[in-house]
Symmetry: C2
Subunit: 251 residues, 2 copies
């Protein structure tokens, strides 16, 4: 393995037209299922969408990001307490997972599994793009994939053979994310230092200019993740979680 | 790299007394920070607890699982919108992350980062145990680690040099977790087939017997994750999320 893989990994949004063999996909999924899981319950399912029409249906729910239609494989990773509950019902046990803490446990399992798949796929030479917008239109995705209650899509990966090397985006320095012993809050001076490299990048400057903003942070608050969207999709997601059966006792 | 690592990986709960060098820990954390992240916001922090007294304080919040006191390193991975908000405030941008969708985005980032760390640590020869109980006592953990608002602990890893090889626990067959095209719900016959190997294991039979239950599923519903606990900790977590500033507009 190339030791530099870890720090050089890139999101891949453009793919070659070749298919990903089902056997390879299943081999990677099975290996990924050995990621840590709460109580060994494996509280997830993954839906494989390869058919072009199926991907065309999903595309608008991911705000028409082109990789959903262009990737040969779309994987929707779902927090799943349905299978566990069906098992309980078949074994004279009363399932009790219709609550928020259970959803959180399932979500943790699902993301760890998806991330392990992502790593395994990249090490096999595939490219992936992680679609964090999955929870925005979870209800529509659930309908398209015929998800039953207690199954909630939480992350989507597009997967295929890379058509380019992706884009280097950089990360914050270690000091930004590590705290020794206890949380050390950020002063304005420390913020300046931690974000200096990010703000000085050419792509960051271009973002600011293209969006007619004064600062890179304004691109995030005013354009990419504005308050009205965040609040709207929070309401929508909470409503869907309730309908999916995960909010019992939450007023 | 040993190709068999992925399917043979084990949770490690017993550790040798040797320390984990800070340089190694930081190298692994920096590499893990290249895991996928929504909008490259890196919505997480990790708190390193090495001091024995600090780990002793954390232990009861993890229900006194002995590895918290016995591991040389405890890492608390936190969903963190505080740093991003401080950056916005310092850059004439109004932060707008006091809502559920933002918490979900931060949680996804955090788990992917933690899972990538877990893999890197294991590949470096370390052993880890993933403590899924972190969200149960998130408030107490947050107080102990002096977490400000918009910072929520979501997963904890104990880390150290393995004192044993861990325990093989097995996973469900591929068919249990994969759906092609759309979700294929589970019939009782399919449940029988998918859980047959798990239920026939010696450790499963011992669990059932030791807990005086009729089925393995009952050990989960009646002993390990009973309804009263799930509902209690759901209320507690929702209350903490509200106090942490992530539930604006959620009634």
């Amino acid at each position: 393995m190339d030791e530099r893989y870890w720090e050089n990994r890139r999101t891949i949004r453009r793919y070659e037209p070749q298919e990903v063999p089902q056997q390879l996909l299943e081999d990677l999924i099975l290996k990924a299922s050995h990621a840590p899981t709460t109580g060994n319950m494996q509280l997830y399912s993954v839906i494989i969408s390869k058919d072009a029409e199926a991907r065309r249906v999903l595309a608008p729910f991911h705000f028409n990001q082109p990789q959903v239609e262009n990737a040969p494989v779309v994987l929707t990773f779902c927090a799943d307490f349905n299978r566990m509950s069906k098992w309980c019902e078949a074994r004279n046990a009363e399932p009790c997972y219709d609550n928020m803490q259970s959803f959180v446990a399932a979500m943790i399992d699902t993301i760890a599994f998806a991330q392990q798949f992502n790593t395994l796929a990249e090490l096999a030479g595939l490219g992936c793009c992680w679609l964090g917008t999955t929870t925005y239109n979870a209800r529509q995705i659930a309908e398209a994939l015929k998800l039953p209650k207690l199954v909630v899509p939480v992350i989507t990966l597009t997967v295929g053979w890379p058509a380019d090397g992706g884009v280097e985006v950089g990360r914050l320095p270690l000091e930004a994310i590590v705290h020794n012993g206890e949380y050390s809050d950020y002063t304005p001076e420390r913020i300046d230092r931690l974000y200096a490299e990010k703000e000085s990048r050419e792509d960051s400057k271009r973002f600011v200019e293209e969006n007619g903003k004064q600062t890179l942070a304004q691109v995030f608050t005013d354009v990419r993740y504005p308050r009205a969207n965040n609040e709207h999709f929070s309401q929508v997601f909470a409503g869907f979680l309730a309908d999916a059966g995960f909010m019992k006792g939450q007023s």
